[in-house]
Amino acid sequence: MEANQMEQQKSWKKRAWWLIVLIAAGLIAPHVISEFYLLILGEALIMSLFALSFNLLFGTMGQLPFGQAAFYGLGGYGMAMLLTKLQINFWLSFVAGIGIAALFGLLVGIFCVRLRGIYFSILTLAFGQLIFVIIYKWHDFTGGDDGIQGVFPPEFLKDPMAYYYFILLVFGLSAFILWRIIHSPFGYTLQAMRENSERTEFLGIPIARYQLIAFVISAAFTGLAGALWAPFYRSVAPSTLMWIKSGEPVMATILGGAGLFFGPVLGTFLITFVHAYLLGFTHFWPIIMGTLILIVIFLLPGGILGFIKEKRDNRKKQNQPSQG
């Protein structure tokens, strides 16, 4: 265990340099790129947070939820409705949106954590669609397919660049917290459950409770992403809860590499920017995206980041005998 921790600290220090590069790039970016790509960058960060919270359940815990968009949408709807209908303060609405997503995560999670594998995926999909249908059809309360308009951030965040920095800050903090959760005893227990849930149970660990806690944490961070999105887009629409939206983090995570912390982020950036770039001259981006997914699945098992890591580890292994 101690050796493991040392190993981690070592790799953490090794990692630090490119983390600094990334943060610096994130800070400088708005001054370099056009306003269009600044919006895309903001979107990519929000979707990355969505994908990271998805991967807490998928990569770390080993279960694939296919209804996460419901929590994303609930975060957005929760904050938007409190803000526009009850005229509640922006920050209170923002926090309440996260709370609503977490609460529904608890309600849905209680039922879902008893299942494994494909049954877990389908039950989360069913609950996600249930929440989607209710919000979509309950026109008097939620505005139905019109969604909710006029979700404005406070005055000092109205400028796109200011809001971008706000997104960057929230993303950075959330990513740090999620990283700490994954590398805590709690996170290691989730990983043990992924590897062998029966043995973990024999160690006296209440699996269902751990899964439920992870599910609620994931729902809360997904809701946070949704609450970030609503004022960014100035509105929310029911499409934020649809199952197609639930597929996006799945796609991004497997594309980037589920086994690595930043895999989902890489996948999301790739998808978001390829999408934005392709929309410039073709309506047929889904076919390109679909083909891209197939190519990655066939050629790069473990995702793009997983493939790079594997290559690097192989090279290290080859070098070691000569060093030693």
Binding site: F58, L64, F111, R114, L115, R116, G117, I118, Y119, S121, I122, L123, L125, A126, F127, Q129, L130, V133, I134, K137, W138, W243, I244, G247, V250, M251, I254, A258, H283, F284, P286, I287, M289, G290, T291, I293, L294, I297, F298, P301
Partner: protein, 293 residues
């Protein structure tokens, strides 16, 4: 609420259930044997509907045109299924199911765009074929006679699949492969070959059911997503991979949908998901399914 209204609703539910069985049986068959949940099954169904429209329009034979188009579509879709299994799914059996799921998800994106490319975004429809153009009056209510065609077709498929799975040698292999794939392989039966043909059969059924929905007047983009979600509900309620379960699930979902529409139209879908959630909570592997190990 008088009896005749309830009976009419019940009959609509049966027709709906028959249609759902047509689509879901292919999904269930594929999952039962290949253990791959084909997200793109609804897309194959949609592609079938569009292809049958084009064949029907190209043939323009008065009475039998629809039936010929439906049959041709089924075979074309079978061929497409063959190609998909051989070139895509076959490479993924050794991987985890999340990758298989994602691959079929990618197929949804690809097929949607192909349909958009060839047929554009508008609604298309085929007139109801003779002799199912009119309505039958039951207790004074008009009931589209085409619904009886769907119910008959559903029954025919039930009988065919029952015969295939329980009465033929291939059926023995199918059931054995669903039970223990490695053992069947060890007995010298070429599993990859079996998988290809089962997937092709599933695609064929999807194409057939897409073709026969065309006269309902709703060939459009998005029909894939609509049906696949309901089919998931069907196979999950009945038990994934079980054909009797799929039949029962289709009948349940058909009735829930039909009476749900009568009670509160906007929540009909929500009722289906509620039933599905309840079944999954009580019996996670469905009514006729078996627990996965």
């Amino acid at each position: 609420m008088s009896f005749d209204i309830l009976f009419n609703q019940f009959l609509s539910g049966i027709a709906r259930g028959a249609l759902l069985f047509l689509v879901a049986s292919g999904l269930s068959l594929t999952f039962g044997v290949l253990r791959v949940l084909n997200f793109a099954h609804g897309s194959l169904y949609m592609l079938g509907a569009f292809i049958s429209y084009s064949i029907w329009k190209w043939l323009l034979i008065p009475v039998v045109g629809f039936y010929v188009a439906t049959l041709l579509t089924a075979f074309i879709m079978g061929g497409i299924g063959l190609l998909i299994e051989y070139y895509i799914l076959r490479r993924l059996y050794a991987r985890g199911w999340p990758e298989q799921l994602l691959a079929t998800y990618a197929l949804i994106l690809i097929i949607t765009d192909i349909v958009k490319w060839f047929w554009g975004g508008e609604f298309l429809s085929i007139p109801r074929p003779k002799p199912f153009t009119g309505a039958v009056f039951l207790f004074g209510f008009p009931f589209p006679s085409y619904n009886f065609f769907i119910i008959l077709l559903g029954l025919a498929l039930v009988v065919f699949l029952w015969w295939l799975v329980f009465k033929t040698h291939l059926g023995d292999i199918i059931r054995a492969a669903a039970h223990d794939r490695d053992m069947v392989s060890a007995l010298g039966i070429p599993i990859p070959w079996l998988f290809t043909w089962i997937f092709a059969l599933g695609a064929m059924i999807a194409g057939l059911s897409g073709a026969v929905t065309a006269p309902y007047g709703a060939i459009a983009l998005g029909m894939d997503i609509e049906i696949i979600i309901e089919c998931f509900a069907v196979v999950v309620i009945g038990g994934m991979g079980s054909l009797p379960g799929t039949l029962l699930g289709a009948l349940i979902v058909g009735q829930v949908y039909s009476f749900g529409i009568m009670y509160k139209p906007e929540l009909a879908l929500a009722f289906i998901f509620m039933v599905m959630a309840i079944v999954l909570i009580i019996r996670p592997w469905g009514i006729f399914g078996r627990p996965e190990r």
